[in-house]
């Protein structure tokens, strides 16, 4: 594979690694050492760019361990500051970034929004990243305030950076972080292009705040029109993906393919021994038999994930007595 997108099994949290022509781009770092383990497994030490979608610890916590580790070179950091989240964790990140900037060791881009021309979104001749959200209006408003004519204040989740991965002009994956209803409404209002073969479902398949999860899901799917949906979920934490979300997915797109990085407790109460298959790249749930698909690596050219993983996942899910997805899990190539 020359260009791949890996949706990492990090337990509860998010991290994706995009590689193309020897360059590596990370979208969110999850927490703890999951990303470090994956990078080590792939022999990646130089990172062209890290995009941080928003400041929640399950998306940014691992950044601390990358930036503090002299083994890794991070050339460029892209993020949106969030005055609503003046957390100590954010102060930790700020300390490390400030130190690296002071030594001229990192470039930082802040205040990112859709419909802007950024040179850094072109990863290689084949692969580019499109920023789909926040819209400029959302970015100008910022978390904590309501959009014009709006009643609900934007949250950190609302202003998550949503990125679309495009291979030779074909949109392959939409990485949605924790985007919510307000972000979706803005995407619909601005008629932005968000269709994509793969949808990395928002918020790990958890509830979209206080909004109706069924309506949120059906509206999102009508915008993205995915062939396959990946949930970056953690077994046993937060009960993701939520059953009402999966039901809404199946109602909107009956033949869509579904893969969860970890085995939801709702699908199987106890972890099952997986002697038939062990993830060939780092997966947080591998040791504890908590993975379902585990880390999913997609070849951007064919749009396919690894055949061994797909087969093992399909066999595993079909053998579960009551899986939420309970439909064939065979990811199709890009037409």
């Amino acid at each position: 594979m020359t260009s791949t997108l890996a949706v990492l099994d990090v337990g509860h949290g998010s991290s994706c690694v995009l590689t193309s022509c020897g360059k590596a781009v990370v979208i969110d770092t999850a927490d703890r050492t999951h990303l470090l383990h994956y990078l080590e497994c792939k022999g990646i030490e130089e990172i062209e760019m890290i995009i941080i979608s928003h400041t929640d610890s399950d998306h940014v916590g691992g950044l601390i361990n990358i930036l503090a580790n002299p083994k890794y070179v991070v050339k460029h950091l892209v993020l949106n500051c969030d005055s609503q989240k003046q957390s100590k964790l954010w102060g930790d990140v700020r300390t490390l970034v400030d130190d690296l900037m002071g030594r001229g060791a990192i470039r930082v881009t802040m205040g990112v929004s859709a419909n802007q021309a950024y040179g850094w979104t072109r990863v290689s001749d084949e692969v580019s990243i499109e920023i789909v959200s926040p819209t400029p209006l959302m970015a100008l408003t910022g978390a904590g305030s309501a959009l014009p004519k709006g009643t609900k204040a934007l949250t950190s989740n609302s202003v998550s950076i949503v990125a679309r991965i495009v291979f030779k002009g074909i949109p392959v994956a939409l990485v949605t972080a924790d985007m919510d209803r307000l972000a979706l409404d803005e995407m619909i209002r601005t008629e932005c292009a968000a269709d994509s073969k793969y949808l990395i479902f928002p918020h790990h398949g958890g509830l979209p705040g206080t909004d109706d999860p069924v309506k949120f899901t059906s509206d999102l799917l009508s915008v993205v029109k995915p062939d396959a949906i990946i949930f970056s979920n953690g077994r046993g934490r937060h009960g993701t993906p939520r059953a009402e979300i999966i039901d809404a997915v199946r109602a909107s797109l009956p033949v869509v393919k579904i893969a969860c990085t970890q085995l939801s407790v709702k699908c199987c109460e106890k972890p099952l021994s997986r002697d038939d298959y062990r993830p060939y790249v780092y997966s947080a749930g591998a040791e504890s038999h908590s993975f379902c698909a585990g880390t999913v690596e997609i070849d951007l050219e064919t749009g396919l994930a690894d055949k061994r993983m797909l087969q093992a996942h399909a066999n595993f899910v079909s053998g579960l007595p009551s899986s939420l997805c309970s439909i064939p899990v065979v990811l199709l190539p890009i037409a």
């Binding site: 050492t33 691992g62 601390i64 361990n65 503090a68 580790n69 100590k88 102060g91 300390t95």
Partner: protein
Amino acid sequence: MQAVNIEGREISRVFLIDDDPSVRELYEYHLDGFRVDTEEVLHIAGMEQLLKASNDHDGFVCDFHLNNSRYSPINGDVIVSNLYKKNIPAVLCSRDVDTISSVRRLRHSIPCIIEARNLNGESVMEAFATCIREFSGNFSSIRRPWPTLIRIENVVQESPSILRVAVVVPGWEAQSIIEVDISKAEVGFCADIVRSIKSGDVYRCKAQVNLDAESQTDIYIKDWLSI
């Protein structure tokens, strides 16, 4: 001479350290089924004495609380840590070690702490194996050190040689507060830490931490660096 091969090293003798003779006998009883000689340490004059008396084929089982009697001027954590630094496998044995912050200061060189009720010949040999693997740089995932940021939130106690601080390791568990002792002789910026905390700020620095540790008991923090 009888010996047990552990990770390629022949261990022929195990020293038993405890200020209570009956506990030393209990250690001896547990190791009875293994092909090793046991030797009770009747009194400890200092670390030098122990190092002088031991060689590459020795291991140690050592109680934690020792320096509150005439038996030893130093505690078990210091003994085990110093033996580890000389590549001699040693296991620390205790009942209440989980809550003792001073152990965390040395935890990077104390791979195995066995609770008294779990001590047996197999657990001791497995602990020796862990030590010997680490001597050649082979760390288990939960013991592997990673560089990270440390946020010091409070100074709990200060003595002329030690600063006990409450820290958060955000790259491990952003919600957990861990107490750890810092040696003023080893960490050159203790005065900066105190100044920062007294002014109402937190203090951030870097260190090596075993970030894949599963519980606070296993966490160690070493090689402190200012930013």
